[in-house]
């Protein structure tokens, strides 16, 4: 029996600093043991605990897609300003070649089967785009793409420098099988793209609720203002999905801190539809 508390060893093979403020980095990790890699079967939307012994663990959404074999990727924001998060700071101090641990995959995923055959509207804000990136990669894979309807993406950040995955965004822009709407709150001299807040852009884009599902991840304020837009467009709560964040420790539904009602976000989540959330006590 696999002990769910013991991390698997991984090696950092690539580090990308995503944003100009240097506080968001993407880490590519390769499993040290082949069998761990084989056991690590995941779907977009799942997360894992990154472990640095001596510092602790931090639950991070998986940013890569299972369609990208050989490695897994995590995009990590350094937490805190005055008092920085111990684990995320330590992660940010890592160099290529460092060995850390991974526990996972944990939690549920974006409901792939539910999304199949539907149009998917992906809405992301800032750093919370990570598992959406995973989902997009997954859906765009040539084996998977036919299983989904239209894919459109609204992704926003405060400034151009704060957009993650810039190269991928550019590559997706060029594709015909995905509609990209990348926006920033405020552009700069070099910014030729769209300006405007995510909710406004969603309204402008105005996706049809017909056979469509939207997946939303972003800062609470963004979600608060984006939800009404989708309700207005006629999306049912069952068809609006999001990924919750709660303080987690064990990641396997045992330590008892990440519950919302009887659901443990780490095990029964993090992905919930707003219909499901409506049934839970407002305790998050």
């Amino acid at each position: 029996m696999q002990n769910p508390y013991i991390p698997m060893p991984v090696e950092v093979t690539k580090i990308v600093t995503e944003v100009e403020t240097n506080d968001i980095k993407t880490f590519r990790l390769n499993f040290v043991n082949k069998e761990d890699e084989e056991n690590f079967k995941y779907l977009p939307g799942q997360f894992a605990e990154l472990s640095i012994l001596g510092k602790g663990e931090s639950p991070i959404g998986i940013a890569s897609s299972p369609t990208q074999p050989g490695y897994i990727e995590f995009t990590v924001q350094r937490a805190g300003t005055l008092v920085t998060g111990i684990v995320t700071t330590a992660l940010h101090d890592l160099d290529v070649g460092a060995r850390i641990g991974v526990r996972g995959p944990l939690g549920n995923s974006w409901p792939i089967e539910f999304l199949e055959g539907k149009n998917v509207v992906v809405v992301g804000g800032g750093f919370a785009f990570t598992t959406l990136r995973s989902l997009i990669h997954y859906m765009l894979h040539k084996d998977n793409r036919p299983r989904f309807g239209d894919i459109s993406v609204v992704y926003g950040a405060r400034t151009p420098g704060l957009l993650c995955y810039k190269e991928e965004l550019a590559a997706w822009e060029k594709r015909k099988d995905i509609k990209m709407h990348v926006t920033v709150d405020k552009g700069d001299a070099n910014w030729k793209g769209r300006e405007g807040f995510v909710p406004t852009v969603c309204k402008e884009v105005g996706p049809s609720p017909e056979n469509a599902v939207t997946v939303i991840c972003g800062p609470p304020i963004m979600i608060r203002f984006t939800l009404p837009v989708f309700f207005e467009l006629g999306f049912a709560k069952e068809n609006i999905l999001t990924s919750l964040e709660m303080r987690m420790k064990c990641g396997v539904g045992k330590c008892g801190r990440c519950n919302v009602g009887h659901k443990y976000v780490c095990k029964d989540g993090p992905v919930f539809s707003f219909a499901e959330l409506d049934k839970l006590p407002r305790d998050f």
Binding site: L82, V83, D93
Partner: protein, 653 residues
């Protein structure tokens, strides 16, 4: 993880002699996160600095540890070094393996073990170091010089010459200081007044110098670049703006006070200028001796003053002066020799102290330059000059006052010239280390001055020897012959110790300075920063730091002016970034920080119920952090976790 480089300095043999430096570097290489460790002969030298910089680039270091001399010595140097290599200067940790290790033991094992522990502590701490960004503040371009003696005058003139505005604060009614009392100066024997008064006049004439005589510093606020100093203008009772310096008032005045300038040998008027060449040439009223103030009537001065400048209603006034830097040149006091009853000063009229004799020599002095006994007419036929009165004396002042040997020789020469009497020098050691000093001594040896090596034990007027009746008997053991000798003389001159100003401690407190164990102002470093103090922007010059002669005081005045210039020449200056800040998420609103801070930096935000620190006022002492029960205050560069980590590293091995 961090990428730490450790650089071990040999300091020639200073460190390498007792600390096994290569072993230290080897040890450092075994520590987690240490990417590179090297040792080198002189880390502070150019090749040493380049070594560090190359390694930073080559190994992509993000923390640097230098095991070398005390951080007080070279922290700034190495900060610059790493900054020039692209690292934030606060990502440096200095390990003191010289002053606190290699120099204080002879045992190699002990020294090396300790050095290892210290390096380990530094590594633990270095991991947690954070880059800090300095803040810049506007600098007030003006300078204040406190003390109008020769050092202060020099400093003020130099600064004024560069175009800087200078406030020269002097507590007495005139500038000039002790030097104004001297007749001749050693060893060149040029006339003191002749070289001093032009400088005093230059001060007066300089449009860049605002002379604030009869003033005292009352309160000091602010910090380097932005001092806010409150000055008390003591009431002069004479409106100097109106006064045209006719000095008619001083002629008519019936009041009499003791002349400070003449060391109390004569009286002066109650409305007076201290001496004829005083600057400014405008009188003040000595309230204690003024007939009007004592008896309620007189006002003769008022009557004779055509300018109507006399104002008995005048009160002390205050003004705030803003300056960027301050030079303290507050000078010295001469030790009061009365308590040394064995020398009889104050009891035996023939016993004089050095400054009294200076006045006797001076043609502007009470005797118009004649050396006579206190009766005003008798010329002494034999004179003994007693060195080291209160100096080099464990019971009084342990230090050497530095100038007495030389001025005693000067006295001998002048006495020979003026009296043709016998002159005895009673000295412990003859100290003549200045330029031309030894030659001066040799010249005096040839002038038939009697040198007796021994410290005078006693001066008495009691004797069984009828030949000595009426004489002062100086008793001394001649240490060259080991014989006890008694010398009958007419006059005894004491060369008392120079000591810190009586109120030096108060002054130190005002400006936040340290004083040494005698009470002289403490310099930041005895060798490398003799004019700087622990308070940034406050410099010291002259005898307030330790006894000095005129050439040294003048050099220091010039030097301090240059130091002050380094600050006020810039529009903006960088402030120490290691200040405290409140992590408001953890603040419990207890206000302890507000209660304890000596600088009033923390303020309580009643709306948010948390404290906030004004970093411009923060000096980074950390008192608030230690008083914060919730550990919500982060004292940058000395954070709780940095200190705790360093302790952990120090205690591991």
């Amino acid at each position: 993880m961090s990428r730490i480089g450790v650089f071990v300095c040999h300091c020639g043999l200073n460190i390498a002699k007792t600390v096994r430096v290569s072993e230290l570097a080897e040890f450092a290489r075994t520590l987690p996160d240490v990417v590179v460790a090297e040792d080198y002969k002189f880390m502070c030298s150019t090749p040493g600095q380049e070594l560090i910089q190359n390694d930073i680039r080559k190994h992509n270091l993000d923390r640097v540890i230098v095991a070398a001399c005390s951080p007080l010595m070279h922290e700034r140097t190495f900060r610059k070094v790493i900054e020039n290599a692209g690292l934030n200067q606060y990502l440096l940790s200095i390990v003191n393996v010289r002053e606190q290790d290699s120099w204080v033991t002879e045992d190699e094992d002990v020294a090396t073990t300790k050095a290892k522990a210290l390096i380990n502590g530094a590594v633990f701490r270095a991991r947690l170091l954070q880059p800090l960004v300095s803040r810049f503040i506007d600098v007030n371009p003006d300078v204040m010089v406190v003390g109008g003696g020769i050092a202060g005058i020099q400093a003020a003139l130099e600064l004024a010459d560069t175009g800087k505005k200078v406030y020269l604060v002097e507590r007495s009614p005139t500038i000039g200081g002790h030097m104004a009392q001297f007749d001749k100066t050693f060893p060149t024997l040029d006339c003191s007044a002749c070289i001093l008064t032009p400088k005093m006049d230059a001060v007066l004439q300089s449009s860049n110098i605002e002379l604030l005589t009869y003033c005292e510093v009352e309160e000091v606020k602010g910090f380097v670049g932005n001092f806010d100093i409150k000055i008390r203008q003591k009431a002069r009772y004479v409106d100097h703006d109106k006064c045209n310096a006719c000095l008619a008032c001083t002629e008519k005045c019936p009041g009499r006070g003791v002349s400070e300038w003449d060391e109390g040998l004569v009286k002066r008027k109650a409305i007076y200028i201290p001496f004829p060449q005083a600057v400014p040439q405008k009188p003040v009223i000595d309230r204690e001796n003024c007939t009007f103030f004592k008896k309620g009537k007189c006002r003769l001065c008022e009557k004779v003053c055509e300018q109507e400048a006399i104002d008995f209603e005048q009160k002390d006034t205050f003004r705030e002066v803003k300056v960027g830097a301050v030079i303290l040149a507050t000078g010295y006091d001469l030790m009061d020799t009365k308590p040394l009853i064995q020398y009889g000063y104050g009891k035996l009229p023939g016993v004089h102290h050095a400054l009294e004799l200076e006045r006797l020599f001076n043609s502007a002095g009470p005797t118009s330059g004649k050396v006579v006994m206190r009766d005003g007419k008798t010329e002494p036929q034999s004179i003994a000059i007693l060195h080291c009165i209160g100096s080099r004396d464990k019971n009084n002042h342990e230090y050497c006052s530095r100038v007495c040997c030389m001025y005693s020789l000067k006295f001998a020469h002048l006495l020979k010239e003026k009296t043709h009497g016998d002159v005895y020098q009673l000295y412990i050691d003859m100290r003549a280390p200045g330029k031309g000093y030894e030659e001066f001594y040799n010249r005096l040896v040839e002038e038939d001055v009697k040198f007796i090596r021994g410290k005078a034990a006693r001066v008495t007027d009691k004797t069984d020897n009828p030949d000595h009746a009426g004489k002062l008997i100086v008793e001394v053991e001649d240490t060259l012959t080991s014989q006890f000798v008694t010398i009958p003389v007419d006059m005894v001159v004491l060369s008392p110790a120079m000591k810190p100003r009586q109120d030096a401690k108060d002054m130190a407190r005002l400006f936040n300075l340290s004083t040494d164990k005698y009470g002289f102002f403490m310099e930041r470093h005895p060798k490398l920063a003799p004019l700087s103090t622990m308070t940034d922007g406050v410099f010291i010059a002259g005898a307030c730091q330790s006894p000095k002669d005129i050439p040294d005081s003048v050099s220091q005045g010039t030097g301090a002016a240059a130091e002050a210039l380094t600050i006020v020449v810039k529009d903006k200056m960088e402030l120490e970034a290691a200040t405290a800040i409140v992590n408001s998420a953890a603040c419990c609103g207890c206000q302890n920080c507000v209660r304890v801070c000596p600088y009033g930096a923390p303020m309580f935000n009643y709306e948010k119920n948390v404290s906030e620190i004004n970093e411009a006022l923060c000096k980074g002492c950390g008192l608030c952090a230690a008083s914060c029960p919730a550990s919500a205050i982060i004292t940058r560069h000395f954070t709780n976790d940095q200190v705790m980590a360093e302790m952990e590293g120090l205690m591991e091995f």
